[in-house]
Every structure is written in structure tokens, then in C-alpha cells.
Amino acid sequence: MSAPVAVEAYELTRRFGDFTAVDAITFQVAEGEVFGFLGANGAGKTTAIRMLTGLLAPTSGRARVAGHDVYTETEEIKRSIGYMSQRFSLYEDLTARENIRLYGGIYGLTDAQVRARTAELLRRLGLEPYADAPVRSLPLGWKQKLAFSVAMIHEPRVVFLDEPTGGVDPITRRQFWEMIYDAAEGGTTVFVTTHYMDEAEYCDRVSIMVDGRIAALGTPRELKERFGVESMDEVFVRLARPEAGAEDAS
């Protein structure tokens, strides 16, 4: 807990009309931590992530990401973070090499840096033989690893991964988590959402949102002990199961 704070939110709130999507959430994420951000569909995860990435102004409360204020320093935030969503941020008609160059340019890397990073990424991903084929023709698992690498190209302090492993095969899913660990070992803070409850176990700490609030926050072990259950899946079901039949009322 003595590590520097990478993400902090204090009573962060966002309302849309009379609907409160995010309701006074408070938490801190340490540098280099893998932080799982879980919740049922519609619990408010996406709205919270949009505020933390500088894309949506909060209604009230405070938050800082990589030391920058979410109200006044959104441009600084965008430069300090990486983002990868479940639907790819890659350009399908461009090759892997071109995608890396494009994102390197967007994030202000020099030509020499882009060349060095491109060679390193292609080698590490084992993509060298396919570097000049359109991304469209690559298997899904490779696209996902490339999208993650591109989100990390400017060595961001925090990377947001929104369901990064949806739909991939079980081996690729696990390889992806090894990339996440590598990034965290390198000091990058990883903020990740997933619907796979086994992946919740791989996080250092997990928060579970229910109806706009953080209903639980702790290490997977702490949460399982608190609810007296064997798996994160059971923790999730205990917390997220709403009153019968009312799940869609929001």
C-alpha cells in the first residue's frame, strides 16, 4: 500500500437526468497494481471508465489518474494512459507494422523510437512473418495481443482494458493475462474489466459495482473469505443478484 497512487476517486458521481449511473464511488489503485473492475451489465462500469479516461465530465466528486485531474487535465490524462476495448482499436486494412507506426505517431514517438518499438513488438509477439499482412487476416488472438501492445506503445502509467479477452480461446486468454502481468511488473497500472470470473482471481484487487456503487472491494482472497465462498464467481453472484425480476428495471 506504500506504492504511489496511480488512480484515485473520491465520491465520484455521474448523473444522466434523474438517473445516477455512478453513485459516489471512492477507491485508490496503486502503481503497478492489476485492478479488476467488475459489475453486472448496466452497473455503471463503462460510465466510470469514461470519466477516468477523460472522456466524460463527472457530475460531482473528485478523481485523479496518473496524477492528473479528471475535470481540468483531460488532455494530460489521455497522454498518460492506454486504452483497449473489447472491439478493437486497430485499423483492419492496415498491416500490423502500419498500425504500430500510426499509434506511435499519434502518441508523439519519434521515428527512431517507432522503429525500435516496432521491431521489439513484432519479435515479442512472434508476428514478424505476418508484419505486412492486413490486420483483418490475423487470427483473433493475435489481434488482441497486438491491440494491447499498441495501447502500451507510449509506455503509459495506466492502461484501461475493457473486456480484453471476450470470445478468445482459453489458451490465448491465458497468454493475454501473462502480458498483463508483464505490464504490471514493468510498473504499469492495469485497470481491467471482464465477464470471466476466473480472471477476477488473477487481479491483485477487485471491485464489484452494483447499481452505480462499489459494493465490495478487496483482494480475491479477502472477498471469498468475507462471503464464505470458494470462488469469485460465487462472490459475484451473491452481490450482483438483484431482487428477483428487477434486474432490468433500470
Binding site: A40, N41, V168, R174
Partner: protein
């Protein structure tokens, strides 16, 4: 097998290409009447192509497929009136209301919502309070229930559901499978696909599918029982470093994270799993791990899938 009734779905040697991509490569399987049959596999495995062929929306390049004894090419109109299909992408009319969508699908099949109400009621009642809302403005869970109601409104004999739970949270997924159990209890044959391995246990039988080929077809428990090598569940304080360390053990075949444990597969088929567990524990302790626990474990669907897959999809190969 000869005592089995005629299959509800029968597919023999079906292949389908799109340009140079082989989406399906000689797929064969059959589904019994009243069965809840699952296709489990990642994106790009060929699940959607297969579903489109059996619901007569796509013609195979090779092979034959019959649904309710009818040929998918020759008898497409009769098949269409007797099957329900819920595609993976939301396929309703977003500008029509909930009730209008349902009435529309009923009228296409020459029936009415009132006549079929008893069948759809358990699902439709949950969204009926929103009957006047535009379908496009529904939450994900409600859209899913409306799509299922529309796929059922003509009282089909076989229901095909293509990835109904993709992107849906763990709680809503369970509730959706509970609905399928109820429909199955009413005698409906259901064929469903999913990328979530943990949903396999909800099916009577599953087909594991990858790169256009079926790797195995069996009841879910049987797939685990056929795991060919000793499998050990390992825990230790440093979970992040554990898979890498286990792969360095001389007899390792694979080591994959499974929630709070790592599943270690030993390459020696005849080794006793308990002695493998003891060897692994001793090895990890010499490697400096603390809090090591290792015990034989029964293989699940995901273990079996990874073993059958062999080399991973994203691995560079010559």
C-alpha cells in the same frame, strides 16, 4: 445407437469456405430430439457459419444437413417454419416497440401472440412491463429476452441460439440458462453456441469446435473423464510466477492458470497423479515457493479444450 429415435438435427461432412478462409472443414454431428446440445468454441471457430447452414440461410459447399428429417437445401421453406433462430447479433426492429416486434414475428408465421402466450409467457412476462418501449432502447438483458420470445413465438420444434450469452454478465448468463432448462423440460430441442467454457455443464452434450473442426462430442462430464494425462491443481503464494516455474519441471506438458490455482498437466500418461503431485510440490519448494499445495484434480471442459487444441491460435508456427 439403433434404438435412438430419428435425430432432430443431422449433419454429415459439411464444409464451407469464404474465399480462402475455410470456415467449416468436414463437420459431422447429430442432435437427438429433446436434447440441449451446445457448441463450445472461441470466436472464429465456425459456430455462426454452422448455425446459418442448419437454419437454411447459407448453403454448404460440401456435405449434407437435415433438420427434422428435412434437407436444408431442398426443403428450406418447411424447415424455416419449424425452427426458431436467435442470431448472435441483435436482429429485431429497433424502431418498433417490444409488443410490435413480437406481433410482427407472430404474424410472419401466421399466428398470434395470444395463441402462443402460454409458451412464451415465462420469458415475455419479464419484459411485458416495457411492452411500449422501443426495442432499440432496451437494456442488453431485456433485448436478449425479447429476441428469445420472438424466436419462440411460432412454437418451433427446434430452437437454434447463436451465442445468446456473449458479453452478458455472469449472473444474467445463469438466469438465461435457467430459462433454457425450462424450455427443454417442455420438450423443445435446443442447439446453442457459446464461447464460455463454464456453460458446457448446462448442456446434455457438447461439441468442442475450433478452426472449423469438431474436436470432440460428448456429455460434458465424459469430456473431462477422457483427459489423457495426469492433471494436478497447484496453489502457492506467488501465483503470478507459478505457471512459468511449473513449465520448467522436466515432465511438464502444460501449466495454465485456473482462477486461484494453476492446472499442471504431466507428459507421462501412466504416472500416478498422486505421485506427480508430490513430485511437483517438492520441485516448487526447491524453487523457493511457499505455501505450496498440489493435489490431483478432475479435468473440466476448459482443460480438455486446451489439450485438444494443441498449439494455441496465436502461437507463431513455421
Amino acid at each position: 445407437m439403433s434404438a435412438d429415435p430419428a435425430p432432430a438435427v443431422e449433419v454429415e461432412g459439411v464444409s464451407r469456405r469464404f474465399g480462402e478462409t475455410v470456415a467449416l472443414d468436414g463437420v459431422s454431428f447429430s442432435v437427438r430430439p429433446g436434447e440441449l446440445f451446445g457448441f463450445i468454441g472461441p470466436d472464429g471457430a465456425g459456430k455462426t457459419t454452422l448455425f446459418r447452414i442448419v437454419v437454411t440461410l447459407l448453403v454448404p459447399d460440401e456435405g449434407e444437413a437435415r433438420v427434422l428429417g428435412l434437407d436444408v437445401v431442398e426443403d428450406l421453406w418447411e424447415i424455416r417454419s419449424r425452427v426458431g433462430y436467435m442470431p448472435g447479433r441483435f436482429s429485431l426492429y429497433p424502431d418498433l416497440s417490444v409488443a410490435e416486434n413480437l406481433e410482427f414475428f407472430a404474424s410472419v408465421f401466421g399466428t398470434t401472440v395470444e395463441e402462443q402466450y402460454d409458451l412464451i409467457a415465462p420469458i415475455y412476462r419479464q419484459i411485458e412491463p416495457f411492452r411500449d418501449r422501443r426495442a432499440g432502447a432496451l437494456s442488453g438483458g431485456m433485448k436478449q429476452k425479447l429476441a428469445l420470445s420472438c424466436a419462440l413465438v411460432h412454437r418451433p420444434d427446434v430452437l437454434f441460439l447463436d451465442e445468446p450469452t456473449t458479453g452478458v454478465d455472469a449472473v444474467s448468463r445463469r438466469e438465461f440458462w435457467d430459462l433454457l432448462d425450462d424450455l427443454k423440460a417442455g420438450g423443445l430441442t435446443i442447439v446453442v453456441s457459446t464461447p464460455y467454457m463454464d456453460e458446457a455443464d448446462r448442456c446434455d452434450r457438447v461439441a468442442l469446435i475450433q478452426k472449423g473442426r469438431i474436436l470432440a462430442v460428448d456429455p460434458p462430464a465424459e469430456i473431462g473423464r477422457r483427459y489423457p494425462l495426469p492433471l494436478v491443481a497447484v496453489r502457492a503464494d506467488d501465483l503470478h510466477r507459478l505457471p512459468g516455474a511449473l513449465r520448467r519441471f522436466p515432465h511438464a506438458r502444460s501449466a495454465y492458470p485456473f482462477g486461484a490455482e494453476v492446472h499442471y498437466t504431466d507428459a507421462r500418461p501412466d504416472a500416478d497423479p498422486r505421485s506427480v503431485a508430490a513430485e511437483v510440490r517438492a520441485f516448487l519448494e526447491t524453487e523457493g515457493f511457499r505455501g505450496v499445495e498440489a493435489a490431483p484434480v478432475a479435468a473440466g471442459i476448459e482443460d480438455a479444450f486446451m489439450e485438444l487444441m494443441g498449439a494455441p491460435e496465436g502461437e507463431a508456427r513455421p
